[in-house]
Protein backbone atom coordinates (compact mmCIF):
# COMPACT_ATOMS: atom_id res chain seq x y z
CA UNK A 1 0.00 0.00 0.00
CA UNK A 2 1.46 3.37 -0.96
CA UNK A 3 1.78 5.82 1.88
CA UNK A 4 1.27 8.66 -0.64
CA UNK A 5 -2.34 7.72 -1.34
CA UNK A 6 -3.13 7.62 2.32
CA UNK A 7 -1.58 10.98 3.09
CA UNK A 8 -3.48 12.75 0.25
CA UNK A 9 -6.68 11.20 1.53
CA UNK A 10 -6.06 12.49 4.99
CA UNK A 11 -5.33 16.03 3.75
CA UNK A 12 -8.74 16.26 2.02
CA UNK A 13 -10.47 15.51 5.28
CA UNK A 14 -8.03 17.68 7.15
CA UNK A 15 -10.47 19.90 8.97
CA UNK A 16 -12.71 17.17 10.31
CA UNK A 17 -9.77 15.35 11.84
CA UNK A 18 -8.64 15.88 15.33
CA UNK A 19 -5.16 17.45 15.42
CA UNK A 20 -3.71 14.91 17.79
CA UNK A 21 -5.08 12.03 15.75
CA UNK A 22 -3.46 13.38 12.66
CA UNK A 23 -0.11 13.47 14.35
CA UNK A 24 -0.61 10.11 16.01
CA UNK A 25 -1.41 8.17 12.85
CA UNK A 26 1.95 8.45 11.11
CA UNK A 27 3.69 7.97 14.42
CA UNK A 28 1.76 4.75 14.98
CA UNK A 29 2.62 3.60 11.49
CA UNK A 30 6.26 4.38 12.03
CA UNK A 31 6.21 2.59 15.36
CA UNK A 32 4.55 -0.44 13.84
CA UNK A 33 7.04 -0.47 11.00
CA UNK A 34 9.91 -0.35 13.40
CA UNK A 35 8.70 -3.20 15.58
CA UNK A 36 6.61 -5.28 13.23
CA UNK A 37 9.25 -7.99 12.80
CA UNK A 38 9.66 -8.96 16.46
CA UNK A 39 5.91 -8.79 17.04
CA UNK A 40 5.38 -10.95 13.99
CA UNK A 41 7.92 -13.45 15.30
CA UNK A 42 6.47 -13.75 18.80
CA UNK A 43 2.76 -13.57 17.92
CA UNK A 44 2.11 -17.10 16.54
CA UNK A 45 2.56 -18.57 20.02
CA UNK A 46 0.13 -16.16 21.61
CA UNK A 47 -2.48 -16.64 18.89
CA UNK A 48 -2.31 -20.41 19.17
CA UNK A 49 -2.26 -20.28 22.96
CA UNK A 50 -5.25 -17.97 23.06
CA UNK A 51 -7.29 -20.55 21.14
CA UNK A 52 -6.01 -23.82 22.62
CA UNK A 53 -4.83 -22.76 26.08
CA UNK A 54 -6.24 -19.56 27.50
CA UNK A 55 -9.74 -19.85 26.10
CA UNK A 56 -10.13 -23.49 27.25
CA UNK A 57 -8.82 -22.49 30.69
CA UNK A 58 -11.54 -19.86 31.13
CA UNK A 59 -14.06 -22.09 29.43
CA UNK A 60 -13.15 -24.75 31.99
CA UNK A 61 -14.10 -22.48 34.87
CA UNK A 62 -17.31 -21.54 33.06
CA UNK A 63 -18.22 -25.15 32.30
CA UNK A 64 -17.61 -26.18 35.88
CA UNK A 65 -20.62 -24.09 36.88
CA UNK A 66 -22.94 -26.11 34.65
CA UNK A 67 -24.38 -29.55 34.61
CA UNK A 68 -25.11 -31.50 31.46
CA UNK A 69 -24.55 -34.66 29.55
CA UNK A 70 -22.64 -34.32 26.31
CA UNK A 71 -23.63 -31.23 24.39
CA UNK A 72 -27.32 -31.00 25.27
CA UNK A 73 -29.35 -29.97 28.34
CA UNK A 74 -26.91 -27.56 29.94
CA UNK A 75 -28.12 -26.22 33.26
CA UNK A 76 -26.49 -23.59 35.44
CA UNK A 77 -25.83 -25.06 38.89
CA UNK A 78 -23.45 -22.57 40.47
CA UNK A 79 -20.92 -24.24 42.72
CA UNK A 80 -22.81 -27.54 42.93
CA UNK A 81 -20.15 -29.43 41.02
CA UNK A 82 -17.48 -28.27 43.43
CA UNK A 83 -19.62 -29.05 46.47
CA UNK A 84 -20.36 -32.51 45.12
CA UNK A 85 -16.70 -33.05 44.31
CA UNK A 86 -15.23 -31.82 47.58
CA UNK A 87 -17.86 -33.05 50.02
CA UNK A 88 -20.14 -35.69 48.52
CA UNK A 89 -18.19 -37.87 46.08
CA UNK A 90 -16.56 -40.81 47.88
CA UNK A 91 -14.18 -41.39 44.94
CA UNK A 92 -12.50 -38.01 45.31
CA UNK A 93 -11.03 -38.49 48.82
CA UNK A 94 -9.86 -41.98 47.84
CA UNK A 95 -8.18 -40.53 44.77
CA UNK A 96 -6.62 -37.69 46.76
CA UNK A 97 -5.27 -40.17 49.28
CA UNK A 98 -3.90 -42.21 46.37
CA UNK A 99 -2.14 -39.11 45.05
CA UNK A 100 -0.57 -38.64 48.47
CA UNK A 101 0.63 -42.25 48.42
CA UNK A 102 1.93 -41.86 44.87
CA UNK A 103 3.81 -38.70 45.84
CA UNK A 104 5.38 -40.45 48.80
CA UNK A 105 6.20 -43.60 46.85
CA UNK A 106 7.51 -41.83 43.76
CA UNK A 107 8.90 -38.38 44.57
CA UNK A 108 10.96 -39.33 47.60
CA UNK A 109 12.59 -42.51 46.18
CA UNK A 110 13.02 -40.85 42.78
CA UNK A 111 15.02 -37.99 44.27
CA UNK A 112 16.92 -40.24 46.65
CA UNK A 113 17.85 -42.97 44.17
CA UNK A 114 18.47 -40.39 41.45
CA UNK A 115 21.07 -38.77 43.67
CA UNK A 116 22.51 -42.11 44.76
CA UNK A 117 22.88 -43.26 41.16
CA UNK A 118 24.49 -39.96 40.25
CA UNK A 119 27.00 -40.30 43.10
CA UNK A 120 27.86 -43.82 41.91
CA UNK A 121 28.22 -42.63 38.32
CA UNK A 122 30.43 -39.78 39.47
CA UNK A 123 33.01 -42.03 41.16
CA UNK A 124 36.26 -42.52 39.34
CA UNK A 125 35.65 -46.28 39.40
CA UNK A 126 32.63 -45.83 37.14
CA UNK A 127 34.40 -43.56 34.68
CA UNK A 128 35.57 -46.32 32.36
CA UNK A 129 32.02 -47.40 31.49
CA UNK A 130 30.21 -44.12 32.13
CA UNK A 131 29.02 -43.70 28.53
CA UNK A 132 27.51 -47.18 28.58
CA UNK A 133 25.81 -46.68 31.94
CA UNK A 134 24.36 -43.33 30.96
CA UNK A 135 22.92 -44.69 27.73
CA UNK A 136 21.29 -47.68 29.41
CA UNK A 137 19.90 -45.68 32.35
CA UNK A 138 18.12 -43.31 30.01
CA UNK A 139 16.71 -45.99 27.69
CA UNK A 140 13.40 -46.39 29.61
CA UNK A 141 12.87 -42.62 29.37
CA UNK A 142 12.70 -42.92 25.58
CA UNK A 143 9.99 -45.60 25.56
CA UNK A 144 6.30 -44.77 25.26
CA UNK A 145 4.17 -45.25 28.40
CA UNK A 146 1.95 -47.55 26.37
CA UNK A 147 4.92 -49.74 25.42
CA UNK A 148 6.16 -49.84 28.98
CA UNK A 149 2.72 -50.74 30.30
CA UNK A 150 2.35 -53.66 27.90
CA UNK A 151 5.72 -55.01 28.98
CA UNK A 152 5.14 -54.55 32.71
CA UNK A 153 1.71 -56.19 32.66
CA UNK A 154 3.57 -59.30 31.55
CA UNK A 155 6.45 -58.85 33.95
CA UNK A 156 3.88 -58.51 36.76
CA UNK A 157 1.95 -61.62 35.61
CA UNK A 158 1.05 -63.70 38.65
CA UNK A 159 2.15 -67.11 37.38
CA UNK A 160 4.75 -66.53 34.67
CA UNK A 161 5.82 -62.91 35.16
CA UNK A 162 9.56 -62.58 35.50
CA UNK A 163 9.31 -60.60 38.73
CA UNK A 164 7.41 -63.40 40.44
CA UNK A 165 9.72 -66.01 38.95
CA UNK A 166 12.58 -64.02 40.48
CA UNK A 167 10.80 -63.92 43.86
CA UNK A 168 10.20 -67.64 43.53
CA UNK A 169 13.88 -68.26 42.88
CA UNK A 170 14.57 -66.71 46.29
CA UNK A 171 11.90 -68.87 47.87
CA UNK A 172 9.46 -65.98 48.25
CA UNK A 173 5.74 -66.30 47.49
CA UNK A 174 4.33 -64.86 44.25
CA UNK A 175 2.59 -61.48 44.49
CA UNK A 176 -0.48 -60.45 42.53
CA UNK A 177 1.09 -57.09 41.66
CA UNK A 178 -1.61 -55.39 39.64
CA UNK A 179 -4.59 -57.53 40.62
CA UNK A 180 -4.92 -56.65 44.30
CA UNK A 181 -5.76 -53.42 46.10
CA UNK A 182 -2.79 -53.94 48.38
CA UNK A 183 -0.16 -53.91 45.65
CA UNK A 184 -1.54 -52.09 42.57
CA UNK A 185 -0.46 -48.61 43.62
CA UNK A 186 2.98 -49.84 44.61
CA UNK A 187 3.36 -51.73 41.33
CA UNK A 188 2.53 -48.60 39.32
CA UNK A 189 4.92 -46.49 41.40
CA UNK A 190 7.67 -49.01 40.68
CA UNK A 191 7.07 -48.69 36.94
CA UNK A 192 7.33 -44.90 37.10
CA UNK A 193 10.43 -45.11 39.24
CA UNK A 194 11.95 -47.54 36.75
CA UNK A 195 11.12 -45.24 33.85
CA UNK A 196 12.36 -41.92 35.24
CA UNK A 197 15.05 -42.56 37.84
CA UNK A 198 17.79 -42.68 35.20
CA UNK A 199 16.67 -39.35 33.82
CA UNK A 200 16.78 -37.82 37.31
CA UNK A 201 20.18 -39.38 37.93
CA UNK A 202 21.59 -37.63 34.87
CA UNK A 203 20.24 -34.27 36.02
CA UNK A 204 21.80 -34.81 39.44
CA UNK A 205 25.02 -35.99 37.82
CA UNK A 206 25.29 -32.77 35.82
CA UNK A 207 25.04 -30.79 39.05
CA UNK A 208 27.52 -33.08 40.84
CA UNK A 209 30.17 -32.67 38.17
CA UNK A 210 29.66 -28.93 38.52
CA UNK A 211 30.86 -28.95 42.14
CA UNK A 212 34.47 -27.86 42.21
CA UNK A 213 36.92 -30.53 43.36
CA UNK A 214 38.82 -27.90 45.36
CA UNK A 215 36.04 -27.89 47.96
CA UNK A 216 36.49 -31.63 48.48
CA UNK A 217 40.27 -31.27 48.63
CA UNK A 218 39.89 -28.65 51.33
CA UNK A 219 37.48 -30.87 53.26
CA UNK A 220 39.89 -33.78 53.10
CA UNK A 221 42.67 -31.59 54.45
CA UNK A 222 40.35 -30.70 57.32
CA UNK A 223 39.90 -34.41 58.02
CA UNK A 224 36.42 -35.12 56.61
CA UNK A 225 35.55 -38.72 55.72
CA UNK A 226 33.43 -39.59 52.67
CA UNK A 227 30.15 -39.57 54.59
CA UNK A 228 30.87 -36.20 56.15
CA UNK A 229 31.86 -34.90 52.74
CA UNK A 230 28.53 -36.08 51.37
CA UNK A 231 26.47 -34.64 54.22
CA UNK A 232 28.34 -31.38 54.66
CA UNK A 233 29.27 -30.49 51.09
CA UNK A 234 27.42 -32.49 48.44
CA UNK A 235 23.94 -32.40 49.93
CA UNK A 236 23.76 -28.65 50.71
CA UNK A 237 25.19 -27.75 47.31
CA UNK A 238 22.78 -30.11 45.57
CA UNK A 239 19.68 -28.77 47.31
CA UNK A 240 18.49 -26.53 44.43
CA UNK A 241 18.79 -29.32 41.88
CA UNK A 242 17.13 -31.85 44.20
CA UNK A 243 14.28 -29.41 44.65
CA UNK A 244 14.05 -29.05 40.88
CA UNK A 245 13.86 -32.84 40.54
CA UNK A 246 11.22 -33.09 43.26
CA UNK A 247 9.07 -30.36 41.74
CA UNK A 248 9.28 -31.85 38.24
CA UNK A 249 8.40 -35.29 39.60
CA UNK A 250 5.51 -33.84 41.62
CA UNK A 251 4.05 -32.22 38.52
CA UNK A 252 4.53 -35.50 36.66
CA UNK A 253 2.72 -37.44 39.40
CA UNK A 254 -0.21 -35.04 39.41
CA UNK A 255 -0.58 -35.50 35.66
CA UNK A 256 -0.12 -39.26 35.73
CA UNK A 257 -2.49 -41.08 33.42
CA UNK A 258 -1.15 -43.53 30.84
CA UNK A 259 0.67 -46.01 33.09
CA UNK A 260 -2.02 -46.43 35.77
CA UNK A 261 -4.76 -46.37 33.14
CA UNK A 262 -3.16 -49.10 31.08
CA UNK A 263 -1.88 -51.22 33.96
CA UNK A 264 -4.92 -51.24 36.24
CA UNK A 265 -7.55 -48.75 34.96
CA UNK A 266 -7.18 -47.17 38.36
CA UNK A 267 -8.23 -50.36 40.09
CA UNK A 268 -8.93 -52.84 41.47
CA UNK A 269 -11.79 -50.75 42.77
CA UNK A 270 -10.27 -47.29 43.06
CA UNK A 271 -7.09 -48.49 44.72
CA UNK A 272 -4.72 -46.99 42.14
CA UNK A 273 -7.00 -44.28 40.75
CA UNK A 274 -5.35 -40.97 39.82
CA UNK A 275 -6.86 -37.51 39.42
CA UNK A 276 -6.55 -37.56 35.62
CA UNK A 277 -8.16 -41.01 35.40
CA UNK A 278 -10.94 -39.64 37.63
CA UNK A 279 -11.33 -36.67 35.27
CA UNK A 280 -11.16 -38.81 32.14
CA UNK A 281 -13.84 -41.20 33.37
CA UNK A 282 -16.17 -38.41 34.48
CA UNK A 283 -15.82 -36.72 31.11
CA UNK A 284 -15.63 -39.51 28.59
CA UNK A 285 -17.24 -42.52 30.24
CA UNK A 286 -20.02 -40.89 32.30
CA UNK A 287 -20.12 -37.84 29.98
CA UNK A 288 -20.49 -35.32 32.83
CA UNK A 289 -18.54 -32.49 31.24
CA UNK A 290 -19.35 -29.87 33.88
CA UNK A 291 -18.27 -32.12 36.70
CA UNK A 292 -15.11 -33.11 34.84
CA UNK A 293 -14.33 -29.43 34.27
CA UNK A 294 -14.60 -28.86 38.03
CA UNK A 295 -12.12 -31.70 38.53
CA UNK A 296 -9.80 -30.04 35.96
CA UNK A 297 -9.91 -26.71 37.79
CA UNK A 298 -9.26 -28.51 41.08
CA UNK A 299 -6.26 -30.33 39.60
CA UNK A 300 -4.80 -27.05 38.40
CA UNK A 301 -5.24 -25.44 41.83
CA UNK A 302 -3.71 -28.43 43.59
CA UNK A 303 -0.69 -28.55 41.28
CA UNK A 304 -0.05 -24.83 41.70
CA UNK A 305 -0.45 -25.04 45.48
CA UNK A 306 1.84 -28.03 45.79
CA UNK A 307 4.65 -26.61 43.68
CA UNK A 308 4.37 -23.38 45.62
CA UNK A 309 4.51 -25.19 48.98
CA UNK A 310 7.51 -27.24 47.95
CA UNK A 311 9.44 -24.17 46.92
CA UNK A 312 8.54 -22.12 50.02
CA UNK A 313 9.18 -25.03 52.33
CA UNK A 314 12.61 -25.53 50.87
CA UNK A 315 13.42 -21.84 50.94
CA UNK A 316 12.46 -21.68 54.61
CA UNK A 317 14.71 -24.63 55.21
CA UNK A 318 17.78 -23.15 53.62
CA UNK A 319 17.51 -19.73 55.28
CA UNK A 320 17.41 -21.28 58.76
Amino acid sequence: MSSNGVSTMTTTKDKELDRTNEAALPRLRKWLNKYKTPYLFVSPFFILYAIFGLFPAFYSVFLSLFQGRGRADWKFVGLDNYIRLWFNDPVFPITLLNMGKYLLLIVVPMTFFGLLLAVLLNTKQARMLSGFYRTMLILPYVLAPTVISVVFIQIYDYTYGWLNLLLGAFGLPHIDWIGTEKWSLIAISLVLLWQFVGYNALIALAALTGISSEIYDAARVDGCNSFQEFGLITLPLMRPILLFMAVMTTIGVFNMFAQPWLLTHGGPGYSSNTLIIFLYRSAFEVMQFGYAAAIGVTIFLLTALFSFLQITFNRGFSTE
Partner: protein, 282 residues
Protein backbone atom coordinates in the same frame (compact mmCIF):
# COMPACT_ATOMS: atom_id res chain seq x y z
CA UNK B 1 50.75 -51.97 52.99
CA UNK B 2 50.98 -51.12 49.34
CA UNK B 3 49.49 -54.45 48.33
CA UNK B 4 46.54 -54.04 50.67
CA UNK B 5 45.61 -50.63 49.33
CA UNK B 6 45.74 -51.97 45.79
CA UNK B 7 43.40 -54.82 46.67
CA UNK B 8 41.20 -52.33 48.45
CA UNK B 9 41.10 -50.20 45.35
CA UNK B 10 40.17 -53.14 43.19
CA UNK B 11 37.42 -54.18 45.60
CA UNK B 12 35.98 -50.69 45.48
CA UNK B 13 36.05 -50.77 41.70
CA UNK B 14 34.38 -54.17 41.66
CA UNK B 15 31.63 -53.23 44.11
CA UNK B 16 30.69 -49.99 42.38
CA UNK B 17 30.69 -51.52 38.92
CA UNK B 18 28.76 -54.58 40.05
CA UNK B 19 26.03 -52.40 41.53
CA UNK B 20 25.88 -50.30 38.39
CA UNK B 21 25.84 -53.39 36.16
CA UNK B 22 22.96 -54.91 38.12
CA UNK B 23 21.02 -51.67 37.89
CA UNK B 24 21.76 -51.42 34.17
CA UNK B 25 20.42 -54.95 33.75
CA UNK B 26 17.24 -53.97 35.59
CA UNK B 27 16.78 -51.07 33.17
CA UNK B 28 17.52 -53.04 30.03
CA UNK B 29 15.94 -56.46 30.64
CA UNK B 30 12.30 -55.32 30.25
CA UNK B 31 13.29 -53.79 26.92
CA UNK B 32 15.02 -56.98 25.79
CA UNK B 33 12.09 -59.05 27.08
CA UNK B 34 9.84 -57.07 24.74
CA UNK B 35 12.13 -57.08 21.72
CA UNK B 36 12.64 -60.83 21.76
CA UNK B 37 9.26 -61.81 23.23
CA UNK B 38 7.54 -60.72 20.02
CA UNK B 39 9.29 -63.64 18.33
CA UNK B 40 8.18 -66.23 20.90
CA UNK B 41 5.26 -68.62 20.70
CA UNK B 42 2.58 -68.09 23.33
CA UNK B 43 3.38 -71.37 25.07
CA UNK B 44 6.95 -70.22 25.61
CA UNK B 45 5.91 -66.85 27.09
CA UNK B 46 3.36 -68.57 29.32
CA UNK B 47 5.95 -70.83 30.88
CA UNK B 48 8.50 -70.51 33.61
CA UNK B 49 11.29 -70.13 31.06
CA UNK B 50 13.29 -66.96 31.58
CA UNK B 51 15.33 -67.20 28.41
CA UNK B 52 15.66 -63.97 26.44
CA UNK B 53 16.18 -65.83 23.17
CA UNK B 54 13.11 -67.40 21.59
CA UNK B 55 13.11 -71.21 21.15
CA UNK B 56 12.06 -71.60 18.43
CA UNK B 57 11.62 -68.10 16.95
CA UNK B 58 8.43 -67.30 15.07
CA UNK B 59 6.97 -64.47 13.01
CA UNK B 60 3.32 -65.37 13.66
CA UNK B 61 2.88 -62.57 16.22
CA UNK B 62 4.00 -59.94 13.73
CA UNK B 63 1.86 -61.44 10.97
CA UNK B 64 -1.19 -61.26 13.25
CA UNK B 65 -0.49 -57.64 14.13
CA UNK B 66 -0.14 -56.70 10.46
CA UNK B 67 -3.39 -58.50 9.72
CA UNK B 68 -5.33 -56.97 12.64
CA UNK B 69 -4.20 -53.38 12.10
CA UNK B 70 -3.34 -51.29 9.04
CA UNK B 71 0.25 -50.99 10.27
CA UNK B 72 1.72 -49.12 7.25
CA UNK B 73 -1.01 -46.49 7.55
CA UNK B 74 -0.58 -46.33 11.34
CA UNK B 75 3.16 -45.92 10.92
CA UNK B 76 2.57 -43.10 8.48
CA UNK B 77 0.22 -41.44 10.98
CA UNK B 78 2.83 -41.65 13.72
CA UNK B 79 5.56 -40.20 11.56
CA UNK B 80 3.32 -37.53 10.05
CA UNK B 81 2.01 -36.32 13.40
CA UNK B 82 5.39 -36.41 15.14
CA UNK B 83 7.28 -34.75 12.27
CA UNK B 84 4.71 -32.00 11.67
CA UNK B 85 4.53 -31.30 15.39
CA UNK B 86 8.32 -31.12 15.59
CA UNK B 87 8.79 -28.96 12.48
CA UNK B 88 6.15 -26.47 13.58
CA UNK B 89 7.63 -26.17 17.06
CA UNK B 90 11.18 -25.77 15.79
CA UNK B 91 10.24 -23.08 13.27
CA UNK B 92 7.98 -20.93 15.43
CA UNK B 93 9.93 -21.39 18.66
CA UNK B 94 13.22 -20.38 17.06
CA UNK B 95 11.63 -17.32 15.43
CA UNK B 96 10.16 -16.25 18.77
CA UNK B 97 13.40 -17.13 20.55
CA UNK B 98 15.31 -14.91 18.14
CA UNK B 99 12.95 -12.00 18.76
CA UNK B 100 13.17 -12.38 22.55
CA UNK B 101 16.94 -12.73 22.52
CA UNK B 102 18.05 -10.25 19.87
CA UNK B 103 15.34 -7.69 19.09
CA UNK B 104 14.40 -4.68 21.16
CA UNK B 105 10.69 -3.96 21.36
CA UNK B 106 8.25 -2.56 23.90
CA UNK B 107 6.89 -5.19 26.29
CA UNK B 108 9.47 -7.78 25.32
CA UNK B 109 10.28 -9.06 28.80
CA UNK B 110 6.66 -8.96 29.90
CA UNK B 111 5.57 -10.99 26.88
CA UNK B 112 8.33 -13.49 27.54
CA UNK B 113 7.30 -13.93 31.18
CA UNK B 114 3.71 -14.31 30.05
CA UNK B 115 4.74 -17.07 27.64
CA UNK B 116 6.56 -18.88 30.44
CA UNK B 117 3.59 -18.49 32.76
CA UNK B 118 1.45 -20.49 30.34
CA UNK B 119 3.45 -23.58 31.25
CA UNK B 120 1.66 -23.46 34.62
CA UNK B 121 -1.58 -24.81 33.17
CA UNK B 122 -1.16 -28.48 32.36
CA UNK B 123 -2.96 -29.65 29.26
CA UNK B 124 -4.61 -32.44 31.23
CA UNK B 125 -6.53 -29.92 33.29
CA UNK B 126 -8.24 -28.44 30.21
CA UNK B 127 -9.09 -31.71 28.45
CA UNK B 128 -12.83 -31.18 28.55
CA UNK B 129 -13.07 -27.69 27.05
CA UNK B 130 -10.41 -28.58 24.50
CA UNK B 131 -12.45 -31.60 23.50
CA UNK B 132 -15.58 -29.46 23.12
CA UNK B 133 -13.67 -26.95 20.99
CA UNK B 134 -12.39 -29.68 18.70
CA UNK B 135 -15.88 -31.17 18.45
CA UNK B 136 -17.27 -27.77 17.45
CA UNK B 137 -14.55 -27.37 14.82
CA UNK B 138 -15.55 -30.83 13.56
CA UNK B 139 -11.94 -31.85 14.04
CA UNK B 140 -12.46 -35.10 15.95
CA UNK B 141 -10.43 -37.83 14.27
CA UNK B 142 -8.19 -35.42 12.34
CA UNK B 143 -4.45 -34.85 12.38
CA UNK B 144 -4.73 -31.15 13.19
CA UNK B 145 -6.70 -31.87 16.36
CA UNK B 146 -3.77 -33.88 17.66
CA UNK B 147 -1.02 -31.57 16.41
CA UNK B 148 -2.28 -28.02 16.90
CA UNK B 149 -2.75 -27.64 20.68
CA UNK B 150 0.98 -28.19 21.25
CA UNK B 151 2.28 -26.93 17.91
CA UNK B 152 4.18 -24.02 19.50
CA UNK B 153 5.38 -24.76 23.00
CA UNK B 154 6.48 -22.20 25.59
CA UNK B 155 9.28 -24.49 26.66
CA UNK B 156 10.73 -24.50 23.13
CA UNK B 157 10.64 -20.71 23.05
CA UNK B 158 12.47 -20.54 26.37
CA UNK B 159 15.04 -23.07 25.17
CA UNK B 160 15.68 -21.28 21.86
CA UNK B 161 15.93 -17.87 23.52
CA UNK B 162 18.61 -19.16 25.88
CA UNK B 163 20.56 -20.76 23.06
CA UNK B 164 20.33 -17.83 20.63
CA UNK B 165 21.21 -15.42 23.43
CA UNK B 166 24.46 -17.24 24.03
CA UNK B 167 25.45 -18.25 20.51
CA UNK B 168 24.26 -15.65 17.97
CA UNK B 169 26.19 -12.36 18.23
CA UNK B 170 24.25 -9.16 17.52
CA UNK B 171 27.08 -7.91 15.30
CA UNK B 172 26.49 -10.80 12.92
CA UNK B 173 22.82 -9.86 12.59
CA UNK B 174 23.73 -6.21 11.97
CA UNK B 175 26.20 -7.29 9.29
CA UNK B 176 23.50 -9.37 7.61
CA UNK B 177 21.14 -6.38 7.63
CA UNK B 178 23.81 -4.15 6.10
CA UNK B 179 24.36 -6.77 3.41
CA UNK B 180 20.74 -6.27 2.43
CA UNK B 181 19.07 -9.25 4.08
CA UNK B 182 15.50 -8.72 5.14
CA UNK B 183 14.60 -9.96 8.61
CA UNK B 184 13.38 -13.34 7.50
CA UNK B 185 16.39 -13.98 5.24
CA UNK B 186 18.56 -13.04 8.19
CA UNK B 187 16.80 -15.67 10.29
CA UNK B 188 16.94 -18.32 7.59
CA UNK B 189 20.46 -17.81 6.26
CA UNK B 190 22.36 -16.53 9.30
CA UNK B 191 20.61 -17.68 12.47
CA UNK B 192 19.40 -21.15 11.49
CA UNK B 193 22.85 -22.50 10.50
CA UNK B 194 24.28 -21.33 13.84
CA UNK B 195 21.53 -22.84 15.99
CA UNK B 196 21.46 -26.22 14.23
CA UNK B 197 22.71 -28.13 17.31
CA UNK B 198 19.93 -26.66 19.42
CA UNK B 199 17.38 -27.47 16.74
CA UNK B 200 18.57 -31.09 16.72
CA UNK B 201 18.36 -31.36 20.52
CA UNK B 202 14.96 -29.76 20.84
CA UNK B 203 13.76 -31.66 17.78
CA UNK B 204 14.67 -35.00 19.37
CA UNK B 205 12.69 -34.25 22.51
CA UNK B 206 9.68 -32.96 20.61
CA UNK B 207 9.67 -35.90 18.24
CA UNK B 208 9.74 -38.41 21.07
CA UNK B 209 7.08 -36.61 23.08
CA UNK B 210 4.77 -36.54 20.07
CA UNK B 211 5.55 -40.13 19.10
CA UNK B 212 4.91 -41.46 22.62
CA UNK B 213 1.88 -39.34 23.46
CA UNK B 214 -1.20 -41.26 24.53
CA UNK B 215 -4.00 -39.41 26.36
CA UNK B 216 -4.79 -36.65 23.87
CA UNK B 217 -4.51 -38.82 20.74
CA UNK B 218 -6.73 -41.39 22.46
CA UNK B 219 -9.42 -38.77 23.02
CA UNK B 220 -9.14 -37.31 19.54
CA UNK B 221 -8.57 -40.32 17.29
CA UNK B 222 -11.17 -43.05 17.16
CA UNK B 223 -10.61 -45.37 14.26
CA UNK B 224 -7.84 -47.76 13.29
CA UNK B 225 -6.94 -45.79 10.18
CA UNK B 226 -6.10 -42.69 12.22
CA UNK B 227 -4.32 -44.36 15.16
CA UNK B 228 -0.69 -43.73 15.97
CA UNK B 229 1.56 -46.65 16.87
CA UNK B 230 1.67 -45.72 20.52
CA UNK B 231 -2.11 -45.44 20.59
CA UNK B 232 -2.47 -48.80 18.84
CA UNK B 233 -0.35 -50.43 21.50
CA UNK B 234 -2.32 -48.73 24.27
CA UNK B 235 -5.92 -48.97 23.20
CA UNK B 236 -6.05 -52.09 21.08
CA UNK B 237 -3.12 -54.00 22.52
CA UNK B 238 -4.48 -53.90 26.03
CA UNK B 239 -8.23 -53.87 25.62
CA UNK B 240 -8.41 -56.38 22.83
CA UNK B 241 -8.26 -59.58 24.83
CA UNK B 242 -8.10 -61.62 21.63
CA UNK B 243 -4.45 -60.66 21.38
CA UNK B 244 -2.06 -62.87 23.26
CA UNK B 245 1.09 -61.74 25.08
CA UNK B 246 3.40 -62.36 22.13
CA UNK B 247 1.22 -60.34 19.79
CA UNK B 248 1.07 -57.46 22.24
CA UNK B 249 4.85 -57.52 22.55
CA UNK B 250 5.16 -57.48 18.76
CA UNK B 251 2.98 -54.36 18.57
CA UNK B 252 4.92 -52.73 21.39
CA UNK B 253 8.20 -53.47 19.61
CA UNK B 254 6.97 -51.83 16.41
CA UNK B 255 6.12 -48.69 18.39
CA UNK B 256 9.29 -48.71 20.47
CA UNK B 257 12.01 -49.11 17.87
CA UNK B 258 11.82 -45.86 15.86
CA UNK B 259 12.47 -43.60 18.88
CA UNK B 260 15.03 -46.06 20.25
CA UNK B 261 16.98 -46.05 16.97
CA UNK B 262 16.90 -42.25 16.87
CA UNK B 263 17.99 -42.21 20.50
CA UNK B 264 20.99 -44.45 19.82
CA UNK B 265 22.05 -42.36 16.82
CA UNK B 266 21.85 -39.10 18.76
CA UNK B 267 22.53 -40.41 22.26
CA UNK B 268 25.40 -37.97 22.85
CA UNK B 269 23.24 -34.93 22.10
CA UNK B 270 20.35 -36.44 24.01
CA UNK B 271 22.34 -37.09 27.17
CA UNK B 272 23.99 -33.69 26.97
CA UNK B 273 20.58 -32.09 26.61
CA UNK B 274 19.28 -33.84 29.72
CA UNK B 275 22.36 -32.88 31.67
CA UNK B 276 21.97 -29.29 30.58
CA UNK B 277 18.49 -29.40 32.08
CA UNK B 278 16.95 -29.03 28.67
CA UNK B 279 14.44 -31.81 29.04
CA UNK B 280 11.22 -31.70 30.86
CA UNK B 281 10.24 -34.68 32.96
CA UNK B 282 7.57 -36.94 31.54
Amino acid sequence: MHRVSRINKFMRWLVINTILMLLTAAFVIPFLYMSTGGFKFQNEIASSSVSLLPHPPTLTNYLTIFKEFPIPRIMFNSFFIALTFTASNLFFCSLAGLAYARFRFPGRDKLFSLALLTMMIPMQAILVPLFIIMANFNWINTYQAVILPGAIGAFGIFFMRQYIGSSVPSELLDAARIDGCNEFQMYWMVVVPIIKPALVTLGLILFMNAWNDFLWPMIMLNDNEMYTLSLTVGVAGLRNYLLNYGEKLAAATLAAWPPVIIFFIFRKQFIEAIMAGALKGG
